[in-house]
């Protein structure tokens, strides 16, 4: 599925990713944990193709295709999705317009027929319900006036509608109370299946009780420094990241 090899990337002239390698096979859920500033969001932006995040070495492939050669929208059409740590507000662009345009753009790029307004609304309604996103929310402009938790639920709603084959969730749990966390986790778990993989970035082991990962990675200073099973997350929760950052505990 997704393979990252020796990735180096700079932001504003500063090297943030320093030779990161990671392989996530189809159907697996991997988690990345790591201290603030270790480059987790940078990794997610580089995979999604954000301008200003310059790859100086290494490669990323999705099912063998060169991800770095694609524009961000082509990556989405190829099946990539990023649930943003800080979802962006777009005043004046209504949620439904935004999502319908997104879904149809992806379908068009894949050579599939576009959905008409009615079919789209049906799909939206069905997905909305499971995630507790109200009609009132989808009538508003994208993320405008949404609470932190609503924004995160909205990210998962978009994921449920666009049905990516590989999704990165960047701290989707932060800002969520326990009920919202359960709803969001169920949304993610419902999408789990043999053809789909996830990379879950989080600070807290708590999320991994609900979305149980196959592999946990520790990221520090722009690299994966340790990988293990779900137990590693509990270990980190207890001991912190001191042994990876060189700071005293």
């Amino acid at each position: 599925m997704l393979k990252i090899t020796n990735l180096h990337a700079t932001v504003g002239g500063k090297e943030i990713l320093k030779g990161l390698s990671l392989e996530i096979p189809a159907g697996e859920v991997h988690a990345i944990m790591g201290p603030n500033g270790s480059g987790k969001s940078t990794l997610s932006y580089v995979v999604a193709g954000r301008a200003g995040y310059e790859v100086t070495a290494g490669e990323i492939t999705l099912n063998g295709r060169d991800v770095l050669a694609m524009a961000p929208e082509e990556r989405a059409a190829a099946g990539l999705f990023l649930a943003f740590q800080y979802p962006v507000e777009i005043p004046g662009v209504q949620m439904t317009t935004f999502l319908k345009t997104a879904l149809n753009s992806i379908r068009r790029q894949r050579g599939e027929a576009e959905l008409d307004a009615l079919d789209f609304l049906k799909l939206m309604k069905a997905k909305q319900k499971a995630l507790g996103v109200t009609d009132e929310m989808i009538k508003r402009p994208v993320n405008v006036g949404f609470s932190g938790g609503e924004k995160k639920r909205n990210e998962v709603l978009q994921m449920a509608i666009l049905e990516p084959s590989f999704a990165i969730l960047d701290e989707t749990d932060s800002g969520l109370d326990i009920d919202a966390l359960k709803v969001v986790s169920e949304g993610v778990n419902a999408l789990r299946g043999p053809g789909r993989s996830f990379l879950v970035i989080t600070h807290y082991q708590r999320l991994l009780d609900y979305i149980v990962p196959d592999v946990v990675h520790v990221m520090a200073n722009g690299r994966i420094v340790k990988s293990g099973g779900p137990d590693l997350a509990r270990e980190l929760e207890a001991k912190g990241y001191a042994e990876f950052t060189g700071e005293a505990a």
């Binding site: 193709g49 524009a71 961000p72 990556r75 777009i90 004046g92 935004f98």
Partner: protein, 414 residues
Amino acid sequence: MSNVAAIKKTPEKSAFFPETAERVLAGWAAFMAARPKDPEWLAQLRAQGADYLKTRDLPGAKLEGWKYTNLPPLVKQFGDTLGQTLVTFDPVPGVLVQPLTAAQDMDWVREMLSRPAPVQDANADPALWHLCNLYYRDGIAIDVPAGTEAQNALNIAMACDEDLLYIVHTAIRLQPNSRLTIIEDHRGKGAFWKNALSHIRVEEGAHLVHIRIQEDSDKAVYTQTTEVEVMKGGTYEAVALYTGAKMSRNQVHVRLMEPGAACHINGVSLMRGEQHADTTILAEHLAPHCESNQNMRTILGDRAHGVFQGKIHVHRPAQKTDGYQLSKALLLSEGAEMDTKPELEIYADDVKCSHGATTGRLDEEPMFYMQSRGIPADEARALLIEAFAAEVLDLVKDDVVRENLADRVREWLK
């Protein structure tokens, strides 16, 4: 003087503005020869125009109010022949619409057409006004009787199709407690110069919605002067959607005459190539408890140039004035340019006035967010531009009219 041809003495040229606009007078004698005899008041109006244009040039960059828009070089070839503007409309029950020359003997029309031209000062220039009067002929009069609430919008089309000078007058009166929506459609072809003068009077408790969709050819020059008077409790609400013309100057002067009068002067200009769009607004508060709003969005691609000059002038008696002004420009390319000059002139002490002007580019974050969801960059950009224009177009309450305007924006974005 009873006949314009009787003017003999050419007034003095100005030492400060030695250039004159005599070029636009070239075809005047021939024009007048084909006209029936004017009534006395009209002959005088024309004569004043001729006097002025023999001594002063068309407004150019030397004038403070025209420093961003240099008209004379763009119109120097015009003046030999006057084109015939074809003004057409769909009748609306209860609304009286006539060719102006047929209506000109009515008191209200005569009074409106005879309004004194603005005096030349830093911001105002009467040359375009006088030019309109000089060649007065084409145009319409619209009168809405007291209490009439027109259900349908009045659609007016103004057509120009040759490379000539066109002059159009409009006289609009809304009598007390009447309502009307006017939609002006400008879709001229060719490299013409259209110079228009609109006189509007919104009487007590009346409400005029005045939409202008300007899609003239991008070789044309369009100068528009709109002079509005709003009486007690009346409302003048204008939306100008401009995508056409090589150069346009839309000058609106609203005078809020009596308590409770309000105006909303809104506009969206979408320009590309070498287009130039200038919006110059003066809202004058002459009475207490009046409200004025100016809301402009300018979208500029390629090497297009936008200008917004907006002023709120609050006279001494106009206590409790509520004045608002906001111009926002969106630059889509390196070569695009926006000039803004917001001004407040306030002589009353108990007023609420705010003004602001911003010029910016599309935010990178929403662009990336949309692209990351599969929306191609072009489409993402179009959605953001449409949203930017909608900040003003959404102020239109009528759903059909608002959707029509939004469609024009989407059409431009294709």
